[in-house]
């Protein structure tokens, strides 16, 4: 006997097409002002991103990972979260932090390598450098919420590269077994430094990996803010109502280099990048507003100026902060520092004093 015992499919969602035209049957439940709010945040992200890049070039912050081109993917998804939901980023989620209300100056301070910027009770985990490993602790966080019967969900962000790590697969498996209230949000920006999608993934889509673990999965146009919002909102509702995990593949593009230490022109062509310029997410929303007649250029200018001001203020504030001292090195390694660390801190403090730092 030889039968097909299971059939699977992969779903794709897009609300706004490249021209900013909406598929009304798929419109999410968002008021006009809410969409404008989302737009404002995306511009803020873009401005912050530009200025952070320049700060790196002037030696004022360390290595920085741009989010240019991924504004819709980040803002659209984070916009759907409640305050008490948990957010686990990788290292390219500046847009998510902004949408979640993180103080703007702290964002700049974090890229200056100042660990104090991450101190918060916001349920945003700090930036995670090791790729993919955050999917596992995100699953653990979701698990705890479920064990306590809480309604909070967890979202974890990662890139296409992370889906090659073993940790990612273990996380999906755990989440599937226990029907954890978690959203696995993959920003597939097509590149892992120089590794294109075809060298990174054996599968054609990331979304189909959900099938292997029998969890919900969907691929969404990552440059479509409304589509991203809708897909994420559905996943959040599913998780909150006990429906288990969702894997969302947000198809977008990394317009900039991997980080400020990278030079993408070594491995990809201008033409490739230009293809995606036409899909610019911020511009797409502007097109949408024009299409429905709620745009005017003054508004656009006002948004831009307001964002520039906000970011400039944040930068000034962050740059004025004195750099951290010996306390930060020792005080948070343990809940109560053991004898050795107390002694070592004294040695460092003495040295700092003597060197006049």
């Amino acid at each position: 006997m030889r039968n097909i015992i299971k059939n699977y499919s992969v779903e794709y969602l897009q609300v706004l097409n490249q021209e900013g035209q909406a598929d009304n049957s798929q419109m999410p439940d968002l008021s006009e002002s809410k969409i404008k709010e989302m737009y404002h945040l995306m511009v803020l992200v873009r401005v912050m991103d530009e200025k952070l890049f320049k700060l790196q070039r002037s030696g004022k912050i360390g290595t920085y990972a741009e989010v240019r081109g991924q504004e819709a993917s980040e803002v659209g998804s984070a916009f759907a979260l409640e305050k008490n939901d948990w957010m686990c980023p990788s290292f390219r989620e500046t847009g998510v932090f902004i949408t979640r209300g993180a103080p703007r100056d702290k964002i700049v301070q974090a890229w200056r390598g100042d660990v104090r910027a991450f101190k918060s009770d916001s349920r945003n985990l700090p930036v995670a450098i090791p790729v993919g490993s955050q999917t596992l602790y995100a699953a653990g966080i979701a698990w705890a919420s479920k064990l306590r019967g809480e309604k909070d969900v967890t979202i974890v962000y990662f890139g296409d590269g992370a889906t090659s790590e073993g940790d990612f697969h273990e996380a999906l498996n755990f989440a599937g077994i226990h029907k954890l209230p978690i959203i696995f949000f993959c920003q597939n920006n097509q590149w892992s430094i120089s590794t294109p999608k075809k060298l990174q993934l054996a599968s054609d889509t990331v979304a189909q990996r959900a099938i292997a673990y029998d969890i919900a999965g969907i691929q969404v146009d990552g440059n479509d803010a409304l589509g991203v919002y809708k897909a994420t909102k559905e996943a959040i509702d599913r998780a909150r109502n006990g429906g288990g995990p969702t894997l969302i593949e947000s198809v977008t593009y990394r317009m900039g280099d991997h980080t400020t230490s990278d030079d993408a022109s070594r491995y990809r062509s201008e033409a490739d990048v230009n293809l995606w310029k036409a899909k610019d997410p911020v511009v797409r929303l502007e097109k949408y507003f024009r299409n429905i007649g709620t745009w005017n250029d003054d508004y656009g200018r006002w948004v831009r100026e307001t964002c520039e001001k906000e970011v400039d203020e944040a930068i000034a504030k962050a740059l004025a902060v004195e750099k951290p001292g010996p306390d930060e090195l020792f005080d948070y390694v343990y809940a109560v520092p053991p004898k050795d660390l107390i002694e070592q801190k004294k040695i460092l403090q003495e040295e700092v004093k003597q060197r006049g730092l």
Binding site: P130, T195, R266, Y267, P326, L341, R355
Partner: protein
């Protein structure tokens, strides 16, 4: 003779070995088209093609694990970890298989890989980009661990490592990748594994160090040259340890200071100090002092200058053995 930096030296070593031996291949993230994030494998992909210069997916366990298999079946893989701190993602392979394959099979199969990557700090990099994990590898057993401090040694040791029948972990101090140039012969040459080098002779104090810290110690020795005569031993190979050279030096000077970036407790300095007192206690004038990082995880880079050993701390270490 041409003066090149460490990146170029390692590039030359890998290139010459890949040309000489078809079994040698290099695999890792972004090593091919991009030439590596530090450009250590620049140009290799063009010369040797995608079957020998392999751009892998983002999967350290996968990279190390498959490399073990490649090595068992006759290839000589050079495995790049983009930053050595990322090797933790595949550490279980290092411990489960890399160091054990030969012993487990009584020599029937072995694992001659070279696992290399940027290590150590000092360039204000992001978290986990500045690790010094040498003791984890040494303590796993069955593996050789190398850390050069200059372009000449880097080239010679890399060639030796690739030719070595045992697995070698090659720690490349990222601080030293481009910070200076050295005269390095264009042709292939080897530097023996397991041999330390006295890079500065002296009669008052022995400093034992490796990697970027060797440069720091040379600076300090130069600064203090009118007050104290410092002998500096660059280990070059951390394991197997060239104990004899260290003891010979301590017999002469009677004073030892060990300098390393890794945190103090459980750091390799403890092992070296222990051997010095075992074999040389009757020659010691003072306790053996270690100048190391603090017992904290390597911090975010705004605190880097507090964490790393610096001239101040090395001088204080020398003071304490001289003033005992």
């Amino acid at each position: 003779m041409a003066k090149i930096n460490m990146v170029q030296a390692i590039n030359e070593a890998i290139k010459s070995e890949m040309a000489r031996d078809k079994k040698v291949l290099i695999m890792g993230e972004d090593v091919g088209v991009d030439g590596g994030v530090f450009r250590v494998t620049d140009g290799l992909s063009t010369q040797f093609g995608p079957n020998r210069v392999i751009d892998t997916p983002l999967a350290e366990a996968g990279i190390i694990g498959t490399a073990v298999g490649l090595a068992i079946n006759g290839m000589k893989p050079i495995v790049e970890m983009q930053f050595i701190g990322f090797s933790y993602e595949g550490f279980h392979h290092i411990n489960h298989h890399v160091g054990r394959m030969r012993q487990r099979s009584e020599g029937s199969v072995s694992c001659p890989i070279v696992l290399r990557g940027p290590s150590g700090g000092g360039i204000k990099a992001l978290e986990l980009h500045s690790e010094s994990p040498e003791t984890f590898f040494i303590h796993s057993q069955g593996i050789k661990v190398i850390c050069p401090s200059n372009p000449y040694d880097a080239k010679g040791l890399m060639i030796s490592a690739i030719r070595d029948p045992d697995p070698v972990i090659f720690l490349e101090p990222e601080k030293l990748y481009r910070s200076f140039k050295d005269e390095v012969p264009e042709e292939s040459f080897t530097v023996p594994i397991g041999e330390a080098k006295v890079v500065r002779t002296g009669k008052d104090v022995t400093i034992v160090s490796w990697g970027a810290m060797v440069r720091l110690c040379l600076d300090v020795a130069e600064q203090l040259k009118d007050k104290v005569d410092i002998e500096i031993i660059d280990l070059r190979t951390l394991w197997p340890l060239d104990e004899d050279k260290i003891i010979e030096s301590v017999k002469k000077t009677g004073r030892a200071v060990i300098v390393h970036e890794a945190p103090r407790t459980g750091g390799y300095g403890g092992e070296i100090a222990s051997r010095i007192q075992e074999k040389g206690i009757l020659y010691l004038q003072s306790p053996v002092i270690r100048v190391t990082g603090f017992d904290v995880p390597y911090p975010q880079f705004a605190l880097e200058e507090y964490y790393l050993p610096n001239a101040e701390r090395v001088i204080k270490g020398i003071n304490s053995v001289m003033n005992f």
